[in-house]
Symmetry: C2
Subunit: 138 residues, 2 copies
DNA sequence: AAAAACATGCAACTTAAGTGCATTATTTCC
DNA sequence: GGAAATAATGCACTTAAGTTGCATGTTTTT
């Protein structure tokens, strides 16, 4: 797959072995992952490197960090349509308190909120908590 | 002020010296405070005690914890009208990235969000980030 | 091929949060 | 009122996530 290689280069990320592996890892998941999740997913390689790798991805707009209220940062790949400069893709996130998984609901945008005079919004974070479809089926 | 004393008792919290002081401290502030803020506000008394005190307040519905994305928990007094059992007061919070203060916008409720089938919501957290009125006036 | 720039690995540090346990204060009950 | 029970406090210690410094290894540039 040098498709991924090209993708990384488009984001000005040099495609090293670990970076390719991490991209694949993130791509296979459909839920947001913690640094620990990533670490567990790799036999080899080291915490710090994985940390710096995910931060590189984040800085270059390949993943976004999610703060779901658990106190541990999670990360998920940006959707292709939001990768190119379309910076503010304010979709919401759902955190399941049963299975502890957090997912991007990319087509549920955060509604507009009117604020008191003087406040200027630059960013938003909306997290819904509850039980997810999988857990509710059990 | 045994007005405060009565208030604590109503919440099944025994009004010790530190608890009264902490309540007053929180009451004077109009912004959410971290445990460090509280610690700095007291000459005497100890981290752990303050920690357990704020947790007691939280458990008994006197304060709520706010996760504004800074990675540090903040706390603010519940508004009187929300204290009595009216548990789910889902107001939003504003975090100023300039002065790092976080405020409750108690009369800005989180709008209703429709979710994909199978998801059940129990709780929500909406944080807006930007610059606050005070910072924008400067 | 040498120099420069960048990536990786390992150790160490920082900060917030949380627990165990002994001591002290407050309630309860006789 | 005083002893026993219960709760609050203080201090030490632990955990976990995040982060940085620096030496070494690898890739890119010229
Ligand atoms: Mn997302
Ligand atoms: Mn609030
Ligand atoms: Zn679930
Ligand atoms: Zn401000």
């Amino acid at each position: 797959m040098d498709k991924i290689e090209r993708l990384l280069r488009q984001h000005h990320i040099r495609p090293t072995a670990i970076r390719l592996l991490m991209y694949k890892f993130l791509h296979e998941k459909n839920v947001a992952v913690t640094l620990n999740d990533i670490e567990s997913g790799f036999d080899k390689s080291e915490r710090t490197t994985l940390y710096r790798t995910i931060k590189t991805f984040e800085k270059n707009g390949l993943v976004h960090q999610i703060d779901d209220g658990t106190g541990v940062a999670k990360y998920a790949l940006d959707e292709p349509e939001n990768q190119k400069g379309n910076s503010q893709d304010l979709h919401l996130h759902f955190h399941c308190t049963s299975c502890n998984e957090t997912v991007c609901l990319t087509d549920h945008k955060i509604p507009h909120i009117s604020l008191p005079k003087g406040f200027v919004t630059q960013d938003m974070n909306l997290v819904l908590k509850g039980t997810c479809d999988k857990c509710n089926r059990k």
